[in-house]
Amino acid sequence: MIATQVLNRIPLDEYVPLLGEPEVEELRALAKPLRGKRVQMVNSTAVGGGVAEILNRLIPLAEELELDIHWDVMKGGMDFFEVTKAFHNALHGGTYASNAEDFAIFREYNVRNYELVRRDAEFTIIHDPQPAALIEARREKAGHWIWRCHIDLSRPNSAVWGFLEPYVAQYDGAIFSSPEFSRQLAVPQYLFYPSIDPLSEKNRDLDQGFIGSVLKRFSIDPQRPILTQISRFDRLKDPVGVIRAYRIVKRYFDCQLVLAGGGASDDPEGAIVLDEVKKEADADPDIHVLELPTWAPLEVNALQRASTVVIQKSLREGFGLTVAEALWKRKPVVASAVGGIPTQVIHKHTGLLAHSVEGTAYQIRFLLSHPEIAQKLGEQGHKHVKENFLITQNLKNYLVLMLSLSRGN
């Protein structure tokens, strides 16, 4: 396991102009009884993907509140990540041929990481399935162990879930991003929405000059409507479906499509899907397929801010933080009603939901025809994110969970 160094520290006081002094004071009040408590967070990747992104922001804020918090990354080889990627897809309902060797590899890498579990931690939070078996390194019910599941477990492959469930059952509780993702478990299940950091490079305000330069760099015309989906090149994000929806919209509006994303370090399938997308785009000059290195946060930020409509047409979704990012930037969003998306996009209040390629196209056409409605949805979406999906709210949830557990609730 590798102890992770947080790259970018932003003091809590810098959130005051966005949130207000009372909200920050409240965090300090909730953290006061937890000062000095040792907390360990464990996941499987230090960069790429939403979990690492959240932890990168959460850890320094918790440190500032004087929690003795540590983030450790599990060490695994290519064989381990191939297995966990297959597990990830299977847990999302994808096909999976049950294979005893996969389970053995999973167990072996977890055992190799046992010795690095901090046994003096009062709270141990294990993120996602990859390190779930580390619970077996726990000594005699010591401390509070919580499994934080960031993925949708509503229709898991039975072999994979059957393998993981005995590990999950040993925790003191499990956290899910949506009630729909949870399973019937004997342990208490909590709801934590994932979050974005409004001061990160991906979300902070940008000047128009920089946004213009990014559009120019990628040959995107700022004068015509821009439809954007930001996501990994992953079949579950349905980039091909987005292109098909764009083609319907294109009959009515002279618009452009931007499909931008990168591959997480634990996502070996990205290159294959990227080829499929380029094939579907068929060299249309108004479709911009952008492979961004490690997410290029400032570029993603600029592309979202330049967009007329942001799309998230996922077939399955953990939570879909890109939706919250777009809403924070006051953008109208058209998204699939899957996973955690309906929690962010309250239909007709903070965005529009769709259930198909045709529905996605129709909602985009509606927004392009009614910019005043698009603007109102964007404004309400911004407020929704401010209240519920910022990193400070996520931090507050962890503080409340720890307070609740330490008080025996």
């Binding site: 002094e21 009372p22 004071e25 009040a29 909590y190 709801l191 309250i346 239909h347 609730n409």
Partner: protein
């Protein structure tokens, strides 16, 4: 929970509240299942989907009242029932049992009147959740009207919600912490009544707080 407003003429103590949302094992895909859920879910679940929603979605002042009404509208697609559920004003209830009883009555009446709709599958299921409450003192008190106003101006949304909205259930009274203190400790009965009339459904928490501060400022000018 005990009241944060203690005996008469005592200082007002500012608290904050935070809720951990616990996912229950009940869900509903039809109105019939929804009715069953309303009958069987915990009091904490009814509280979560009505009172707590008012805090987490306070910025939506048009057509959004509580989680139950929103699900019936957006997922079950039954506008008339959604309106009836949205029209239930949590300020009218002194206990969760009364609120649950009215929710059941409204949904049950609709299911009896429209049995076909009662069996229809909704687009998304409704998941019954509940809140685990944690309160913390902010370490601040007020003894005078000015200190009270300054304290209110510095409150977070959660803290304002705790004293102004969820206090009704805690106190089992059709009032709130602020009005009780104004009335009992400062003897400002009229101001207390005006404060209690601020509409939490057509206001955001910020605009409700602004109305409250304006009322106090007017009282200060009188004094």
């Amino acid at each position: 929970m005990t009241s944060t407003v203690q005996a008469e003429r005592t200082p007002f103590s500012f608290f904050t509240v935070a809720y951990l949302t616990r996912i229950g094992n009940q869900s509903a895909g039809t109105l019939t299942e929804f009715l069953k859920g309303l009958e069987e879910c915990s009091d904490a679940s009814i509280f979560h989907h009505t009172f707590q929603t008012l805090e987490s979605h306070h910025f939506l002042t048009e057509g959004f009242s509580n989680d139950f009404a929103q699900w019936v509208l957006a997922s079950a697609n039954r506008d008339e029932l959604a309106e009836q559920l949205a029209a239930l004003d949590i300020r009218d209830y002194l206990s969760i049992a009364e609120l649950r009883s009215d929710l059941r009555r409204v949904v049950s009446g609709y299911c009896t009147q429209y049995p076909n709709y009662a069996r229809q599958e909704a687009l998304e299921r409704f998941y019954f959740c509940e809140g685990v409450e944690v309160t913390e003192s902010l370490g601040r008190t007020a003894c005078t009207l000015r200190e009270f106003r300054e304290g209110i101006e510095r409150l977070s949304h959660a803290s304002f919600y705790f004293h102004f909205i969820s206090s009704r259930l805690r106190l089992h009274l059709r009032t709130n912490d602020f009005s009780i203190w104004l009335s009992n400790s400062l003897g400002l009965e009229t101001l207390a009544n005006h404060v209690n009339r601020i509409d939490v459904y057509t206001n955001t928490l910020d605009s409700a707080r602004s109305s409250l501060v304006r009322l106090i400022e007017l009282e200060e000018k009188k004094g």
